[in-house]
Symmetry: C2
Subunit: 318 residues, 2 copies
């Protein structure tokens, strides 16, 4: 695979980032991704600070016991009420790579810089990409409409977004949204991205901490199995289960933000992804779930990605 | 550029199709596209049979006068009330390449075959791709959510859709939606497409029959300037002008299909695209309008596409 500024920035073999997904990206998934040449991220989005620290410690212990010396990072959603505490935990634990999503990276930039932390913000429009660059981010993740989970409001797809962000920025761009296959990695690089962030494909691995029932739904999904809903609150892409269809129908009837909030209730992500309530939970996955047909080890996933990538690039060389 | 089954199927130099857009793709645009190595399509969607025949004749006269011998085709939306008459016109005029959109290609397949016509249907899901293959189509156009104008109901993006359709079919796949730049052509080929169909970039050319005011809006558009609306009728991607925002607001308030139909009224496409009513008309363009910054000749557009493509492919070779 090509070498880019993203390889250098994080000192990684492959310019592939495993997304820090809620209820999914614990120390097992992150360590396996890093061990196999990618950048693994622990997803703090579903962790209280104590649990977050525990995952960091467990990953380090695993690396120590197995003589592994690879970089890894964490993802922190900036809209969390206890965001200061999560960032403090990362700094105390001497984490050197932080991916942030939602919220404003500028508020926290100085803390990251003072502690020698490389930080990358997830954006879904050129405007927010420019703001992230101005805030001092080392890179951005440009995430398209097809991505699973929380999503931008402008509905710009990865194919449209990435080249426009690449043209607007000096810092490197990591493409995300819809990438589950090595052909799509090659496509992202063709668009000018210097790395890719992969969620759904890594969620359907043995090492992901999400429930088997949730992983099974990723396998079942076809090309048209997801929808973007909750658009009046915080848009989220979900598998079209009972809850997601209820949410869509409420939207089509003109439900207000307040009514959508009431319908959503609490802890639906945990219910769906972690506890495996496939009817009432939120099953966050991207449109690329249609390309995922087997739960595999991270090692086998990475090996598939490399093989598919090579074969795709060969087509373009002829 | 790579040579694929699409080059052979249509006997064209470049596997690039100029989309048959309403009020835009007349004989001037189609002849210029074909003259420059692409496949030009006359868009019958906004033409009565008589006018359609006139455009075919004018294109042929232009070719004859200039000693040009290149293939061209036509696009026929199958939901038109006078579809039989349009198809009869194409057959009478000995058209040998027909792209169809909306509706069911199976109904007309025998007529196409009996007259030695290669026919290609535009689809937006794996299910419809398979139906088109079964109907005997020679290829499909897999068009993603980012595309301008009329759009599928499943909201699958080009990056997600193309590899899934490629995996499902034997016949070649042409990628469409969001492609305005040579980097995106390289990306489409990386995904397994064997051709690309380009709309918006060709709409902002000197040769397009659309109004200058409409072309100017394509130039003005940024990454987030379009929305998909009219979802309860027939989803359409529009520049966010006064009318499009009214339509969106009506949708957010839960307007019924009947109410949306009344709001839409009649002839908004003609008003917006052809007459240049930038407030009250429908300004159909894709998300890739953010990448289009100048009205150019078709010749210059094709030359840009080739240069951008080469430079993109070079990145992947290192």
């Amino acid at each position: 695979m090509i070498q880019t500024r993203i390889n250098k920035l994080f000192n990684i073999e492959l310019p592939i980032i495993q997304a820090g997904m809620v209820w999914t990206s614990g120390w097992r998934l992150a360590s396996a991704a890093s061990e196999n040449g990618c950048l693994g991220l622990i997803g703090a989005g579903s962790m209280k600070p104590g649990l977050f620290r525990e995952h960091i410690t467990k990953l380090r212990n695993y690396f120590k016991e197995n003589g592994i010396d690879r970089p890894f990072g964490v993802n922190i959603p900036l809209i969390r009420g206890d965001v200061e505490e999560l960032i403090k935990t990362a700094i105390d634990e001497e984490i050197k790579i932080v991916f942030t999503s939602a919220g404003h990276p500028k508020i926290h930039a100085q803390k990251f810089k003072d502690n020698g932390i490389k930080f990358v913000h997830v954006i879904a429009s050129v405007k927010h990409a420019l703001k992230s660059q101005d805030a001092g981010c080392d890179a951005v993740v440009a995430e398209g409409f097809e991505a699973g989970g929380h999503n931008g409001i402008d509905e710009i797809t990865t194919l449209s977004l990435v080249p426009q962000v690449v043209d607007a920025l000096e810092i490197p761009v990591i493409a995300a949204g819809g990438i589950a296959d090595g052909r799509q990695i090659a496509a992202a690089f063709a668009l000018g991205a210097e790395g890719v962030q992969i969620g759904t494909r890594f969620a359907a691995t043995i090492e992901a901490s999400s429930s088997d029932a949730f992983k099974q739904k990723i396998i079942e999904a076809g090309d048209n199995s997801t929808i973007l809903t909750m658009k009046k609150l915080n848009p989220v892409r979900l598998f079209k289960n009972k809850f997601a269809l209820e949410a869509r129908n409420a939207e089509l009837s003109g439900a207000t933000a307040e009514e959508m909030k009431e319908l959503l209730g609490k802890k639906r992500e945990m219910k769906g992804i972690f506890e495996g309530d496939i009817d009432e939970g939120e099953l966050e996955m991207g449109q690329s779930s249609g390309l995922v047909s087997e739960i595999k080890s991270v090692k086998d996933v990475v090996s598939d990605l490399l093989r598919q990538y090579d074969s795709s690039v060969k087509t373009l060389k002829t």
